[in-house]
Symmetry: C2
């Protein structure tokens, strides 16, 4: 698979006029034309002539961005992966889409999402083997970046919808600390859990995307402001010479494929060979209660969000969404509040662990992308970190015997995104050396 | 009733050494000794010698502050108005108590609160007539300031627990925008609604207390940062010469006593005579749904907070608290989430009304303090504004035929606390003129 020019490099080449935006856009459209028949990453794409006409100025000048189709765009249907919205064009762009355009970026098209970013899959195939899922719910965004169509795609994660497809497709997936990226104008799954994030082909590119598109002010939408990130040399950044990496043990490690377990060991060895100190991390039981609490928050909030859909268009909803809403409707207010309280408690208490290490190394998924398109994979290895709201980044490491990507995720402390991306860049270098 | 020296003046006299802290403290203790037998504002008081020994330095040097007994103090029992906690001394001060001490202020004593700041009344009597309630839940704090014992008392409001007792006792009660004052270390009634606020004898004093004790950083406890407030001349502040005051009509105005209605008219006339433009405000029905939504949030959150109390010490709880918890336990997660959503929606949408006027004028209570100590009064005229989280301030206006205080409240836009206090200072002057 021929990778197109990545985000940072493309921005730089365009800025210094070594690459014309129109030429770059033409390359991206050509790549899409080449693979889309099988890949099916997009629900709708801009025409090349429209992209070329719209090219603005700014740090994203001429950069085509793929946007998950739960994020509102005023010039494209925003179908939310649901037939209910098949003809729905929002009157306004989502805040993050406005940011992209104001910086000179272009909306290349809308990417396939599972229905309402929940379970029911879309048509996208895995770029490495079309018989396999690309993962979900940000299926098309992960696939579009992995196929070298665009240098940047927006996704969202409510349990494991960025980290998992990034890992299945072999690209970088980055979700910053909860609240750090604007989500106004994205169809919610669950306000307490939804993160907007980025698919790119390098850590550096993910950092650039975050810096340009992050929240720069507090809004009512549970937002926080994380200052611009910079990738720093480990020694300068940490105040100690080598990163300390904690390898997470989970109560469900028996779900890991042999190959995924092996990938974790390879990652561990690469990091260790590069001087990182590796230790093991087990968490007390109340942390793992976070996975059930995530299910409580998600189903309860989804039940309210889908109330109108259920009453007005039940025949257009999958049983997946109906079951989610029914599950949510069965919880009491007390159960919901306790789940919210646990979230606050863990967000605060996780900090003490990060006094002893700099990042957590964990599986991003159970293994390679499952065969078939009906099941986008198990998010369980991501759920706790989405619940807590800590930043996480998926990095590819190697390939399975089937030729599918395998990777890891690194998790940082809440609001310590800069440390996380610095360690992720260090890890990226380590993994490159072993290939 | 002889008023002791107010907060701003006392701070200034002590700073310029015209008043010794020990002398001021002795005056305050003497005043308490004089009235406490009947007033019963305090559950516990510091000894004069202890106060005099502790006197620190800083802008609150030598200033005695009365602290509502749901706010943790490490040197006094913090009983939360409940026999369950009758011997409980916290290991740490609440954040706001730490602030007071770090600025040189002193904890004069703990003031009577209703049980867990809910309905079941304490022993405090109204300083103007001991046969009447002082209001609740911040009963002792309002009474202590009104009696001239202390220049500043801390209270809390979850529905109407600052504005109402302030009005019943004839003092200033100020609750800033939701989240602007630290509440860590206060026993919660309902995290979505609890505000910590101030009782003082002038608007200027309330502003000083806020400026010294407000949140100066965002914490995880739903906090916001409101910069220091200053009372500005209306013409300079508003960009138009006269304040525009909206007189609120509510669906329950028939609950107002004739005297309270008359007090509102007097206030309106005073403001109008001083040049204010008066208009009438009616709000659409979805705003008034906020009152029921407040009851949903409060009961659901209280049910979780009191779960352990109910299981371990049911015999030590009033039926008021048991009923509140039982009510909360009956709500579904969906009902709770809808109440939260309405709160967010109204906090955002109320802003458009404030484009047309600068403050809302409303009743703080149904009328004068009710006779008897069993019922602390109806909070319904405060509930909507506590729910939305807008800043509110109670101002005394006149007296009832029984010689009890009557007043009004002014309400500002969320996060526009400075405009509100400026208009409140203007109104305070207007009301003084008519007396």
């Amino acid at each position: 698979m021929k990778p197109a020019i990545g985000l940072t490099q493309a921005c730089e080449l365009i800025r210094t006029k070594q690459l014309s935006p129109n030429e770059y856009l033409a390359q991206c459209v050509a790549r899409a034309d080449e693979v889309e028949e099988t890949l099916k990453a997009f629900t709708v794409r801009a025409r090349l002539s429209d992209l070329q006409d719209q090219s603005g100025t700014g740090p994203l000048m001429g950069i085509p961005v793929a946007v998950k189709d739960i994020i509102a765009t005023k010039d494209f249907v925003t179908a939310n992966g649901s037939p209910i919205y098949k003809n729905f064009t929002p009157s306004e762009d989502a805040v993050i889409v406005k940011k992209i355009r104001s910086l000179g970026g272009l909306i290349f098209g809308k990417t396939v999402t599972t229905e309402f970013a929940w379970r029911h899959p879309g048509a996208t195939t895995n770029p490495w083997n079309s018989a396999h899922t690309p993962g979900g719910s940000s299926s098309g965004s992960a696939a579009a970046v992995a196929s070298g169509i665009v240098p940047l795609a927006l996704g969202s994660q409510t349990a494991g919808s960025i980290i998992r497809p990034a890992s299945f497709c072999g690209v970088i997936g980055f979700k910053a600390s909860f609240g750090a990226v604007p989500r106004e104008g994205a169809h919610p799954v669950s306000g307490s859990l939804d993160h907007i994030g980025f698919f790119t082909r390098s850590v550096k590119d993910a950092v650039l995307a975050f810096n340009l598109l992050r929240n720069t002010e507090i809004t009512e939408d549970d937002s926080i402001v994380i200052p611009e990130l910079s990738i720093k040399p480990i020694s300068e950044f940490l105040g100690h010479s080598a990163p300390r990496i904690a390898v997470l043990k989970t109560p469900f490690d028996d779900l890991l494929s042999t190959e995924q377990t092996n990938t974790l060991k390879i990652a561990e060895k690469c990091l260790s060979d590069s001087g990182a100190k590796i230790e093991e991390l087990t968490l007390p039981k109340n942390y793992w209660n976070g996975i059930e609490a995530l299910a409580v928050l998600m189903s309860c909030e989804a039940a309210v969000i889908h109330e109108q859909h259920l009453s007005q268009h039940p025949e257009l909803l999958s049983t997946d969404v109906i079951e989610l809403a029914n599950k949510g409707n069965a919880y009491s207010a007390s159960e919901y509040i306790k789940a919210k309280n646990l979230q606050k408690e863990l967000r605060l208490s996780i900090g003490k662990y990060f006094e002893d290490f700099d990042a957590i190394l964990a599986a991003p998924a159970t293994g390679e992308a499952p065969k078939g398109l009906d099941f986008t994979g198990n998010p369980i290895f991501c759920s706790l970190w989405t619940f807590i709201g800590t930043p996480a980044i998926a990095l590819p490491v190697n390939k399975s015997s089937n030729g599918l990507p395998l990777g890891i995720q690194l998790i940082g402390n809440y609001k310590e995104d800069e440390k996380l991306v610095s360690i992720a860049a260090f890890a990226e270098e380590c993994f490159k050396k072993q290939n």
